[in-house]
Amino acid sequence: MMRTFDLEAAIGDWKSTLASKGIDKETLLELESHLRDFIADLRGQNISDESAFLRASKELSRDLAILQKELVDTRPSKALESATRIFHFNDLKIALRSIMKRPVTNLFNIAGLALGVIVFLLIMAFISTELSYDREFTHADRLYRLEFRIKNQGVVRPYSTSSPPIGPAISANLPEVASYVRLRHGDQGDPQLIENGDKRYYENRIFYADSTFFDLFDYPVIAGDAEQALNDPKSIVLTQQAALKYFGSSNVIGRTLLVDGNREFKVSLVLSDKLPSSHLDFDFLLPMTAYQPPSFGSLENWSWFTFYNYILLEPNANLDALETKIPQFLETHWREGISERVSLAVKPLTDIYLYSEENADKIGNSSSPVYIQVLSLFGSLLFVISILNYLALFRTLMRSRVDEFLVRKTFGANPQQIFKRVLNEAVMQGILTGTLAAMGIGFLYSFNPALLNNLLGSNGFPLLLFAFLIPVVIATLASFIIPTRSKSRKYANGELANEFRNKMIVAGQFGFTTLLIILSVMMTNQLHFISGRHLGFERENILVVSMLGEEAMQNFNSFKSEIIRTGNALQVGSARLGLEGRHGSYNLIPLGTSEEESYRMAIYPVGNEFLETLQIKIISGNTFQERPATDTTFQYIINQSAAKLLNWEEPVGRKVMLNGQGGMYGEIVGVVEDFNYRDLSYKLEPMVLFYRASATQFAYVRMPAGDHRATIENLSEIWNRTNPASPFVYEYLDTRLAGNYSQHKQVLHISDYLMYIALALSAIGLFGLTTHLTQLKSKEISIRRVMGSSVFAAYKLQVKQYLLLVTAGFLVATPLALFFVENWLDGFYYRIELSAIPVLVTFTGLCFVTLLVVSYGTLTTALKNPATVLRNKA
């Protein structure tokens, strides 16, 4: 078959070849036109199509390289041109290749920085969430809480509560106050039974609130009228979550719920699920008009302070003026002379979450500035260290390539070109680090969205963006800081070593590392310490069963004897309260002394075998004894703090009156070790436990260790037999306590991780730095060897220098760290003492790591034939 030449096809092929070399469309058209003219001319000379095409295309392609370079390069503007030069894809590919040549060092570098960035961003997110509490309310800046400060035995105690008549009175009488709202937990703060048909749960996220609640706190609403919501004494406000729980829908206005088994409430308002972050934490609001005070209290009682009073100030009201009027206000409306004992603090709403008073019923969410202090300090230190590490390792990497740069220079590269390579590699590293950091945050997010939602709020997206951009910026800057454009020449000449500056950098980094390690170890120790490693009672294998409601309480004994009889538990005790940190307080008056003497005590009414079940240690005296019903003397057991306060030689046997004169007459029968009925960031109060057979609201069931599933099933079965009317509600004691410490625990976990990350980063940093410096020294070491020094002598010299630097950094950083830690610890009532151990361990650890790295670096050089090393060194 004759082969025919297809000119058009050949031209098409030719065009696509040129196009693939980056020549643009218009130039291509022009070249094609040229080619066709050329071919037409050649045809005129009787040359075949094929030969004409070959000749013409050869002519045109002869200097294709020139053509391509000129045509591709001459088009863009100057600025664009330089930009494309820096970020040319090929350049990045080359940079990536060069990074891959040193995978381990680069991985260290990239991972270290990514870790630092991730930690820093997460901490920033956490802090911004912590600071955002209660700021979303429209009137946040005009809202305050009135809190009692009560003087007792010369000590002023802060409370977060005040008495119920205060809100209405202050709002009516002081012009600065525009409005008020009172909040109170239901029945003594015990969980209340809420029912809708067969949906029956105990709830404790309930507040009674005045109808003005939504004037002060503008919560977003999905159904109902907030203005009217709490006007009717038979109305109830729900969160969407609660509405879904009881009705399976949020469209439930007008539906009824049964509270406490006998009171019906109509749903008047459903709040949106997107509630502003606030210290107030509730699922249900009931009208204050529906509140039934206990026998000893009333809404007119000024000395009954279990209410939270919030006030809204008038716009532009003078807070100082208000505060100066308060003592007179208390004198006028309460009673004369009261302001000597009681004062009223006006606390800004936005301070409540972070600075809540210790003597508070748990109103909801609270935190502590300690967390912010600890985490922001850790976060910034880690960030700084990771950047320093990055710079040090980057130096090392570049330094190790001086030979390569020299060769490039020999082959005609100018300093700018060498700098460009460095810059490209830095940008590439930044991109890799940023990707890793963003992926890390994304991974954490997908791994545990709940935790991160808590941490990030709705700021997830910018966080990822920041995670990517920060490393890119840092890396790019690194290439400018380390081998600057002007220095790239020096670089190429191998003259980077500036002895003194290098030493300062090393000492500085050692110092930073010391600071970070000492701070993180000591702060973490303190947090562990206050999180109650030692609670003073047994918390494992104990189930807390709610026995709420008259019937259940009365059935306690049959429930208990059934459990013991069937062998499902080792011991069962009971108490009025559930050890979640809540307690009442009474004045204790010793009998036989002057009337003036009275001591404020936390009180804990307990039933049978409470102390035994929880294995609370009795120091002196006895536990409670069963006494004849005719004996109306109360039995009291005090804790160590109370014994210390009372300061009696022998407290056991002393007669005292509780709840003031004419209160509960009784005898102290024993003293127990202090036990943590609440978070140890607060001081444990002097406490009186008193025996009351009817204190059976909570049953404490101590089970044998092991798998409790079968036991719990049995308990549930026994419960249903003995208490058919109420739901079986139980919780492990340690879970219950964890509620007290959940915030603590979270921060504790975070700070634990941070400590490990700090240690890891420090090790990476030291590795990078010392490797860098021993590299610089390799020439010196080799020369010393040539001049007759032994391997050991060369090694000793190096190690000595580094240990001196470690010591220098350590000596500067340690006092600084100790000073800071001491100041910080001063803010705690229960605190660890400064000890030398973490300091010494840090020092030893640093020396050890340094020794290891320096040994590696020095010995690899020192053991080599010095001639080999020197031959390769300029």
């Binding site: 218009e26 130039t27 058209l29 022009e30 070249l31 036109s33 040229h34 066709r36 003219d37 050329f38 001319d41 002519e59 045109l60 392609s61 002869r62 200097d63 294709l64 020139i66 053509l67 000129e70 045509l71 001459t74 088009r75």
Partner: protein, 111 residues
């Protein structure tokens, strides 16, 4: 054929001078210069277009597309700035040439 340096130095004035006679396209520019120089000026096809592109960037010439014989051709036209530049360049070349001519005389007179 001229040396590489001379070709490079002369390309701009030659193109400007040629375009001063009328608009022209790439292939024809090379062809006409070849004829005018008695085949002494032979430019590589690949060299011309970058030069044209640079001159266009420097606003010495402009370009437009025109359809001829059913084919598109890119024509170049000299701008006023190009004319000025061309005159200046020609002046330079003329001076150089004058000096060369004078130098060819056996007796050198500098006054």
């Amino acid at each position: 054929m001229f040396s590489k340096e001379l070709t490079a130095a002369s390309s701009k004035p030659l193109i400007l001078s040629l375009l001063a006679h009328g608009d022209n396209y790439g292939y024809n520019i090379i062809k006409q210069l070849k004829q005018l120089s008695n085949e002494k000026i032979i430019w590589s096809d690949a060299m011309l277009y970058p030069v044209l592109r640079r001159m266009e960037n420097d606003k010495l010439i402009t370009s437009y597309w025109q359809i001829e014989d059913g084919r598109k051709r890119k024509y170049y036209r000299i701008t006023p700035a190009g004319k000025k530049e061309g005159a200046r360049k020609t002046e330079e070349w003329q001076s150089t040439y004058d000096v060369l001519v004078k130098l060819r005389q056996p007796k050198l007179s500098t006054q």
